[in-house]
Symmetry: C2
């Protein structure tokens, strides 16, 4: 499959659904990819099963505060510089690039990098959704190191980082991104084709495309767009409501907040709250308690069009529906829950898979 200016919208929309409210502004990521494709031509999206075992795949990403990333669109030189610095350091030419997250900005940024470098993009990512920190990828559990990591900005500054843990890679990259003006480009988690197949989340880019396409075409097909998304993701509609309150504050670089919904249609009489820290993390129903929590995916979409609404865009009065989708089984292990479970984000709730929470309770 080719990623072109005709289908880039679908990738961006679908990635925003998988971004669970975070992952940065989808519009800016789409714009970057679109410009790069116009200039350099379409990008080949390749099946991870077709990547040779020992081929080098170098994921690329933008790191920083989402609000800054929007204003500081990469010039392209820094993405290229970060990518090529890793190639040089590793002494091996890259076979392809890849997305680190299947959500928002960082699922489209690598499309721009792929176009600019004339490389294919592997149909896979490191999360199957969006998460805010470098170490929060299934690759960490597979023992893939985030380093050597290259970091570059648009001014010509660059760093090559080697760390004893992926958490240290996050720490150094985070403070560097701040000194670079709030955002930077990174090359990280360089891995082999065999490692992609074993430790990454496969087929997530084409899933993003299919979700975006389903939402866009639902109207013409007289289909409910939410139903179409649920079919593709094995998801659940958790709630339908009107936003009555959104509280937001910035804590430690995260956009932290809570949204409250008053039920409409079948949900009339119930209320619903969404806790978010960049991404939506915990969803609670006034009658049923916790109905979904990280690492499962929680996404707010427009009640009519099915278009995803990021946490930054949640606004009073908006009629929305909330979707819950199961995360990759890789995240549901003890190690996975240590990395991205409710406890990591300081919620004192035990994770239960969304499928379990959806079953009627027998007391």
């Amino acid at each position: 499959m080719k990623i072109t200016t005709d289908n880039i919208d679908d990738f961006a929309t679908g990635a925003t659904v998988l971004g669970t409210g975070g992952g940065g502004d989808p519009y800016i990521g789409k714009l970057m990819a679109q410009q790069a494709i116009e200039e350099h031509g379409p990008v080949d999206l390749i099946d991870p099963r077709d990547v040779p075992d020992d081929a080098l795949v170098i994921p690329s990403a933008m790191l920083g505060a989402p609000t800054v990333m929007v204003e500081k669109m990469p010039k392209g030189t820094e993405a290229r510089s970060a990518f090529e610095a890793l190639e040089t350091h590793l002494g091996q030419e890259a076979y392809a690039t890849m997305s680190i997250e299947a959500g928002g900005l960082n699922s489209t940024v690598p499309i721009a990098v792929a176009a600019a470098l004339g490389l294919p993009l592997v149909d896979a990512d490191g999360m199957g959704r969006a998460f805010p920190e470098v170490q929060m990828v299934t690759l960490t559990m597979g023992g893939v190191s985030a380093t050597p990591m290259s970091i570059a900005d648009e001014k010509g500054n660059s760093l090559l980082v080697n760390t004893v843990s992926n958490e240290y890679a996050e720490a150094f990259a985070r403070v560097t991104s701040i000194e670079m003006g709030g955002a930077c480009m990174i090359g990280t988690y360089a891995l082999s084709g065999a490692e992609v197949r074993e430790h990454a989340i496969l087929d997530s880019m084409s899933l993003a495309h299919d979700i975006g396409e389903a939402i866009r075409t639902a109207k013409h097909r007289s289909r409910d767009p939410v139903e179409a998304v649920l079919d593709l993701t094995d998801g659940y509609e958790l709630f339908a409501g009107k936003l009555t309150d959104v509280e937001r504050r910035t804590e430690g670089g995260f956009a932290v907040g809570e949204a409250t919904l008053d039920g409409i249609d079948d949900c009339e009489g119930r209320t619903f709250t969404l806790d978010f820290q960049n991404e939506n993390l915990v969803a609670r129903d006034s009658e049923r308690g916790v109905v979904a929590s990280t690492p499962d995916l929680i996404t707010v979409v427009d009640a009519e069009t099915g278009d995803p609404v990021t946490t930054e865009r949640l606004a009073y009065g908006h009629r929305v529906r909330v979707i819950g989708m199961p995360c990759s089984p890789k995240w549901r292990t003890d190690e996975g829950l240590d990395l991205v479970g409710p406890g990591y984000f300081d919620y004192s709730i035990d994770y239960e898979p969304i499928e379990t929470l959806q079953q009627p309770k027998h007391d």
Copy 2:
């Protein structure tokens, strides 16, 4: 000349005089160098005029908060790692190491590195005194880049940094040192023998040794130790007094404060204030106004023994004398004063050389 366990004390004392109140705890630096010399043998201090033009000199330094550096004495592995990372990156074996500052901790840390690596130490440095930030070296004015800079900690983390300015090198190194626990080892300002001769401050290590020796032996030679130091440094005794007040606070990582002295002996009836930000920066006499300011050197010594007193050790009731010493002419250029003059530290005074300030004023 050889640096041995017998004369390391003199180097440390003299470096603390040149450290103008800052540069870290001289005791810890001495201890590190002493241990390294005991383990690996004495270090050759070589004349910068004897270094071949194209020989590679890699200065080593510890970077971080002085208080942390005291508690976090390098294990040696990180110093070695930072040094060797630069050698590898530059593809050239180092001929020698060098001190970045002639003051406090960072004039003795490279002695330890030299001992551990079996390399000579060049009798030169990048400041001729102590200053708090990476870009504050005469090498910056000579166009020598602080990068490639290697940064390493005792855990095994390392970074290789390339920047478009020495100020960016400072910024990235500073935040990295914080993430590394408050202090780290760096290899920086790799330069050729020819560049050392043209842009560094020459003979400053042997000057430190001579100052330390003069202070130690003054008593036996029935000589005033302060007079001996003034002879070696073309300095002036600015004041003799008793410390009546010391105010300290931490601002942006600096130990900022003010010390007040009441005159004794010839200075009876006058008061004196010292403004410091890690280093002593401005000295004012109640009768004569500003008598010395950065980049000239201002050092407080014990009134009897001549032993230097760092700003951290300034204590109520201590009878001290204050010495002013002219800085290198390199610092007195417009470019030098932009880097380290009073204005950089937010003082709204115009720099005047200490020699000028010492002349009687004709109004």
